[in-house]
């Protein structure tokens, strides 16, 4: 009986969650003009659309992985040195890692929204049975992940069955289940961590450093996706070494590591233990033991989740500690700089925004480090470094526009201030340029130590800068026009992030053209390539500036 009641109550609570996630009324957003009708249906539709996008990405990953396995897509030299079973396990390891990362990332985005929406706190004073409240919390939590999690549980086995046969499809199910269980538990764990250590953190420089350090840890799941893709060639290379050596202590440890252990099961089901070339009888025992441990941990995670999800949702932020007030000083700055500072401060307590800043910088650092994986003075390393700068530009351009949501639509108070749109645009563009320059500076540092071509890299970074600024102008100009017309909040994953993605497309094209021209022209000389690039970037900036500041924006 209490389950039926819990389902009924969770339906109401989920409606409120969808409404808050999409329209952000609790954050002061006002009713969008002309949208008083069908508001709830609209919010539900938008949440479903967002879940569908994440599920689509997960399905593409699963089908793409199956295609990789079936077509054996790998460099022929590496493929020749790696047994089929080991190759299949490696691809499935990547797939399961990405499943965990993407689901966890979804949780990282949504758990703070669930908490701030306060939907369950409303139910607390009602005379509902405690079991019902636990179940409502659990159902609500699961509904945030339902479509993506089901995609992992259904599409992954189906895709593997298509590539390796039905037995292999069945054999990947435990791995998919464990991946989902871990992702859900990690989302809750990091959500609680966030409440205690980040959102409740006091002001001041020292506390800010601690918050940013925590946020770097917080971003591991999202970064894992990029890191895995980036490190895939090195991973396959390592496996060829393992295959050449045969069973060893290192390969036994690899077979015991999550998610490689689960990824071995379909390969074994399809081709037997010999197909991997690394499994000795000892390794098989280690594999069996590790599977039991990981399985038990997954079950414990679910039990822990069920017992703790409600407590998280009802935990208020840590009450303020009445510390004696020091002599507080205000240091006002110019409006654009104030916008920049405010965004950085908000991001330092808001993982969703911190993610947007840190990911391009961390990715640039990873790519910069990869230049060390190639021989000295190898031209590939130069290309990799320049490619990394371009990636930093593209990522900054891709994620940066979402910052405008803090200002324009979500917080009504900000709109009551005499804050001109020029200041907002300049503040946001400064942030995007900062993200690009910080990432590029890391790459410059790594590549200078390795290749010592600081002038080339420095010139490349500066030549690209006008294109990054131009792309940001273009995106923000389009976003301002759209936001003023629609009045929608883009505060999180479920709140209409699609438009931020759409405006990112012309921005990405704009940021991508100058490096492309450089690549085409550098055959005739690096200096010529840099010159062509700089001219193109400046032209783009000249074209994009009126979009941000011209008529129709304010």
């Amino acid at each position: 009986m209490s389950w039926r009641e819990a389902v009924r109550v969770s339906g109401v609570a989920f409606t409120e969650l969808a409404l808050q996630a999409v329209f952000a009324f609790r954050q002061g957003n006002i009713l969008p003009p002309g949208r008083s009708k069908n508001l709830v249906a609209h919010a539900h539709r938008r949440v479903v659309q967002s879940k569908a996008v994440i599920s689509f990405v997960l399905a593409v990953l699963a089908l793409g992985g199956a295609w990789f396995i079936h077509e054996k897509v790998l460099h022929p030299t590496i493929l020749a040195g790696i047994p089929s079973g080991l190759f299949e396990s490696a691809v499935l390891t990547g797939l399961l890692s990405l499943d965990v990362a993407l689901l966890w990332w979804t949780g990282v985005q949504m758990v703070p929204t669930l908490i701030s929406s306060g939907v369950l706190a409303v139910l607390e004073p009602l005379p509902l049975d405690a079991r019902v409240l636990y179940r409502v919390a659990a159902i609500l939590y699961l509904r945030m992940f339902d479509m993506p999690a089901l995609t992992v549980l259904i599409v992954t086995p189906a895709a593997v069955a298509l590539a390796l046969g039905p037995l292999a499809g069945l054999a990947v199910i435990p791995g998919a289940c464990v991946a989902v269980a871990y992702a859900l538990a990690l989302s809750l764990l990091t959500g609680r961590f966030f409440l205690r250590r980040v959102q409740g953190s006091r002001g001041g420089g020292g506390h800010a450093i601690v918050r940013w350090a925590y946020l770097v840890l917080w971003l591991i799941p999202a970064f894992a996706m990029f890191a895995f893709i980036t490190a895939a060639p090195a991973f396959f290379h390592t496996l060829t070494v393992f295959a050449t050596q045969g069973p060893s202590t290192a390969s036994t440890l690899l077979a015991s590591a999550f998610p490689f252990s689960f990824a071995l099961l379909p390969a074994i089901a399809s081709g037997g233990t010999g197909s991997t070339a690394i499994l000795s009888p000892t390794a098989l025992w280690a594999l069996a033991a590790s599977l039991l441990v990981y399985g038990a941990l997954a079950i414990w995670s679910i039990v822990w989740l069920a017992g703790n999800v409600r407590s998280l949702l009802f935990i208020p932020l840590q009450p303020s500690v009445a510390l004696p007030g020091a002599a507080v000083k205000l240091r006002p700055t110019g409006s654009a700089r104030a916008v920049l500072m405010k965004d950085l401060r908000i991001a330092s307590r808001t993982p969703g925004y911190a993610f947007l800043i840190l990911l391009p910088i961390l990715d640039a650092a990873a790519l910069g480090l990869l230049t060390y994986a190639t021989p000295t003075a190898n031209p590939v390393a130069t290309s990799l470094g320049l490619g990394a700068v371009t990636t930093a530009a593209l990522l900054a351009t891709f994620f940066g526009p979402a910052f405008f949501a803090i200002e324009v639509v979500a917080y009504s108070y900000g709109r009551s201030l005499p804050l001109g749109h020029r200041s907002i645009v300049l503040g946001k563009v400064a942030l995007i340029a900062f993200m690009y320059l910080a990432g590029a500076a890391l790459i410059l540092g790594f590549t200078t130590l390795r290749l010592f071509e600081p002038l080339t890299f420095g010139a490349f970074i500066l030549a690209e800068l006008p294109a990054v600024v131009g792309a940001a102008f273009l995106e923000l100009g389009l976003l301002f026009r759209w936001a003023r017309r629609r009045g929608l909040a883009i505060t999180n994953l479920y709140a209409g992030a699609w438009f931020a993605f759409i405006v990112a497309i012309p921005g990405l094209v704009m940021a991508g053209i100058p490096p492309l021209l450089f690549d085409l022209a550098r055959a005739s000389g690096t200096d010529l390539g840099l010159g062509v690039m700089a001219v193109a970037a400046l032209l783009e900036l000249a074209i994009a500036t009126p979009v941000a500041f011209g008529r129709g924006v304010t």
């Binding site: 954050q27 002061g28 006002i30 009713l31 003009p33 002309g34 949208r35 008083s36 009708k37 701030s116 959102q199 409740g200 953190s201 006091r202 002001g203 001041g204 932020l317 840590q318 009450p319 303020s320 500690v321 009445a322 510390l323 004696p324 007030g325 020091a326 002599a327 507080v328 000083k329 205000l330 240091r331 006002p332 700055t333 110019g334 409006s335 700089r337 104030a338 500072m341 405010k342 401060r345 908000i346 330092s348 307590r349 808001t350 803090i406 917080y411 009504s412 108070y413 900000g414 709109r415 009551s416 201030l417 005499p418 804050l419 001109g420 200041s423």
Partner: protein, 268 residues
């Protein structure tokens, strides 16, 4: 305001034929009112009467369907930033950047208001001391109580010493000490030449104590306006309280006794 009408830039606030709608639902209908220099004007009304919609239109959060808004002669719809620079606003709900601390939030507000560091710091210290907020200035706003958030909003509204204060239920959630301080602040505030306060409330006692004139809104329409004496004269009740005047003008006195009677004994 008709074309050719002289714009008086000494008048803190002038609304003319202001209408606000949400979709097809009208919230404010052809509202005309003026806040005079040195005046606290109380905007009274039941829930949903249109008080907050009026205020949101004044501060630029809602685009009116029709009418004009002038703040010291500045057209607030055509020159929003200029008008906003002259306004200090306290919203009905504590809409704040929750991820900031009060100090960080007020620093942002001071920056946008173009205050110098010395003035901003001095005013913050004065108000923080008065409202006993010093200990919470470095705590994230998300962790603060509603009353403390309200104090932050009040300080943000007063920080640039604006010539017009627009306050939407500003005393909500405040403790009695802070209410007393706020009342004194407002009375002293309008004592300074040329300033004005628009003050929305549905607490009649507060309006009676503070406001020089009141306007009574009902379903988006101004039912009556004037001093307490003038309104008493209008309802022909020489000693009526503001509550009685309000109920009569909005015709909400009809059936009050019957409604109470129908409730019966609450314990049953």
């Amino acid at each position: 305001m008709d074309a050719g009408t002289t714009v008086d830039d000494s008048v803190p606030l002038a609304l003319d034929q202001l209408s606000v709608s949400y979709g097809e639902r009208p919230a404010v209908r052809s509202l005309t009112l003026t806040v005079r220099p040195g005046e606290i004007y109380g905007l009274l009304g039941s829930n949903g009467a249109g008080k907050t919609s009026t205020i949101k239109a004044i501060v630029g959060l809602v685009r009116p369907a029709a009418g004009t808004i002038r703040v010291f002669g500045v057209d607030a719809l055509g020159h929003g930033s200029e008008a906003k620079a002259r306004i200090g606003y306290v919203p009905e709900t504590s809409m704040l950047y929750e991820a900031l601390t009060p100090r960080e939030f007020l620093e942002f507000v001071a920056s946008v208001r173009r205050l110098d560091a010395e003035t901003a710091t001095r005013r913050l210290q004065n108000y923080a001391e008065a409202f006993r907020l010093e200990a919470e200035l470095e705590e994230p706003i998300a962790t603060l109580s509603n009353g403390t958030r309200q104090k932050v909003l009040i300080i943000a509204a007063l920080l640039h010493a604006p010539p017009l204060l627009v306050l939407d239920e500003p005393l909500n959630s405040l403790d009695p000490r802070s209410v007393r301080i706020m009342k004194e602040v407002l009375l002293r505030y309008v004592g300074n030449a040329g300033r004005g306060v628009l003050f929305s409330t549905h607490t009649m006692e507060v309006a009676e104590q503070l406001c020089h004139r009141v306007g009574i809104l009902d379903h988006g329409v101004l039912r009556g306006e004037g001093t307490l004496e003038a309104l008493r004269g209008r309802v022909a009740a020489g000693d009526a309280s503001l509550e009685e005047i309000f109920l009569r003008l909005t015709e909400e006195d009809v059936g009050v006794a019957a409604a109470v009677s129908s409730l019966g004994d609450p314990s049953i």
